[in-house]
């Protein structure tokens, strides 16, 4: 009998190990929830948010605060002529000629009355206005389609992002964007674009340009929320988008867009 004790202990130890092993094996699959295809799709696509932009060209005064704020917020070289957002000035003459410019992307406002090197006498001007531009966060973005390495992608809120650590700098996305919203970041040497200040919106803040527009010409909204003021305007008023013919389904909506706008 004296010898039985260690054997018993051995057996007990063995049973304990087996039980723990079985529990561990049973537990590990249970620790992960295995999603079916439809569940996985819902997880990726179904979101309660789809950011859209609304520009009221009737309100824009061409002050350039949006461009300044954008450059500072997103650390884009301040004096470089490229920008994530820019403001265009249009002067339509009575003879039908249209003059357009955007000096320094409109960063410093439009202090020179001369446009495209021409000083147009006020008596010859039929109409003049400003049009702010930025990435349209297209529903069907050609830039995402053409990226050879998948460094640019659309997230579930509809924003098109650039992975700065993955971009090879081929420039195909820049060539493919009908709106010329993209450029090479002069310091990082990778594709650069507006992402509606994702780092701000994700915290519930407004994009820098929206925040700094003194006249409320720029607004951001969630098109999936019927109570969002932007959604109400997009649904109820006469809005238009830029270059619809390219089939990109742009999500920057414009109020008061003139036919001369490029």
């Amino acid at each position: 009998m004296e010898n039985n004790e260690p054997v018993d202990q051995e057996r007990r130890k063995f049973i304990k190990t087996v039980c723990m092993g079985v529990a561990a094996v049973a537990l590990s699959p249970a620790a992960f929830k295995i999603l079916g295809p439809s569940e996985a799709l819902a997880f990726v696509q179904n979101t309660k948010r789809r950011w859209v932009f609304l520009v009221d060209t009737n309100k824009c005064i061409g002050c350039g605060f949006c461009v300044k704020a954008c450059k500072q917020e997103n650390e884009i070289a301040y004096d470089a002529p490229v920008s994530r957002t820019w403001v265009e000035r249009y002067v339509v003459k009575k003879d039908g000629d249209t003059l357009i410019d955007s000096p320094k992307a409109g960063r410093d406002g439009f202090i020179d009355a001369a446009i495209e090197g021409q000083a147009v006498p006020p008596s010859e001007i039929a109409k003049g206005f400003f049009v702010p531009k930025l990435c349209n966060q297209c529903e069907n973005p050609p830039c995402v389609q053409v990226c050879p390495v998948g460094a640019t992608y659309q997230i579930k809120e509809g924003i098109v992002m650039v992975d700065r650590k993955w971009c090879i700098g081929c420039g195909y996305c820049i060539e493919a964007c009908p709106y010329s919203a993209r450029f090479f970041n002069p310091e990082l040497k990778v594709a650069e674009k507006c992402n509606f200040c994702y780092h701000r919106t994700v915290k519930g803040l407004k994009p820098a340009c929206v925040q700094n527009c003194p006249v409320g010409a720029r607004q951001i909204g969630n098109i999936k929320d019927p109570d969002d003021p932007v959604t109400k305007i997009v649904l109820n008023e006469r809005v238009s988008v830029l270059k619809e013919e390219y089939g990109t389904d742009p999500q920057a909506y414009y109020l008061g867009l003139d036919r001369s706008v490029r």
């Binding site: 002529p81 357009i100 389609q145 990226c147 050879p148 060539e175 010329s180 002069p186 390219y246």
Partner: protein, 402 residues
Amino acid sequence: MIHPVIVHGSEWTVKELFVYPNEYIYWGIQIVMYPFMTGLVAGAFVLSSLYHVFARQELKRIAKFSLIFSFALLWAAPLPLLLHLQQPLRCEEVFFTPHFTSAIAAFGMVYSLYFAIVSMEIWFIYRRYFVEQAKALVGRKGWLNQARRVTYGVLTLGAWDIGHDAIEKDEKVTKILASTGIPVACFLHGYAGFIFGSVKANAMWMTPLMPVIFIVSAAVSGIALCILFYSLINLWRSKSAMPKKELDAVRMATKYLLIFLVFAISLELLDMVFRGYTAMKSWNILRSVIYEKDFLSIFLFQYFCGNLVPLIILLRKPLSMGKILTATTLILFGVFMMRWNVVIGGQAFSLSWAGFMHFELPIIPHSLETYKEGLLGALTIIMLPFLFFFALNKLIPTLEKD
């Protein structure tokens, strides 16, 4: 000292009228070189396949040369892309993480496949030579001979059988590889055309004809370069007039060159006539580029000097060596101008259709960027295949001796 921030493209782009702030000529001389080089690869391969697949015996002498030259060109073909990348150290991502909706993503696979086919074809054609050399060099003294023996021994890959049956099998496989190579070569170059033709944002590039135009002009340029280089080498070797056999091979190759040239001209003219006739919204700006801004480089350099003059020269019999050399040089120039007019011409206007951009090729570099994207970068790329060919020819003699 604070260095000024330089925007990519701003050093060679001059803007006129209204151009969007972010717009520059982002695709410069290296993107002109890229389709030019892949075109030469594809064209040289097509010429060699005319012998291997369609058994055009009269092309035998030039066919072997063309295949090896195509291989030399193939090494240099991806380099323009590499020089163009803003992040060249990440280039391997194209191979390892291809994003399949992008036309460029096909590059890794098509290029590798084509590379494999050409390497294998060369191996099957020259296996007998490798074995013979490795055997002949046994017992020869000197480290160079030993090194050559080992190299040829390795190149045989252990397949030492050069009996009748084995060689017959080799020839059979060569034919299969050459036949598969033709569509792959066309795909390699056709997709380069697709890269441009599918950019819907660009009214100049967007046409389904683009890949076809690229393939046909590729054949034109590749055959022209093979004829030119082959003739020059033979003239240099014989020190005087070209040997009759070589001249016959070259004359036969010019016949195929003519056929492809006529196709290329027809397709390009069809494209232009169609654009003018349908006169879509973009035609206003395209017309200004084609008939005003780029008139000289399109009509004088590309169509007149590069197409019409060589066509007339080649049609006039008898074909002397002087005529062949002049015509092929002009054709190469014409195809280069065609690539230039597509790539640079396609970015000569703003997507606002309200302004223009002019390309000023950096001649004297003052930075790595202006070297890569300038004249010297392009010349480096042009020189490389000739150096590769020189090195390859030491190992695999492509020029037959009588």
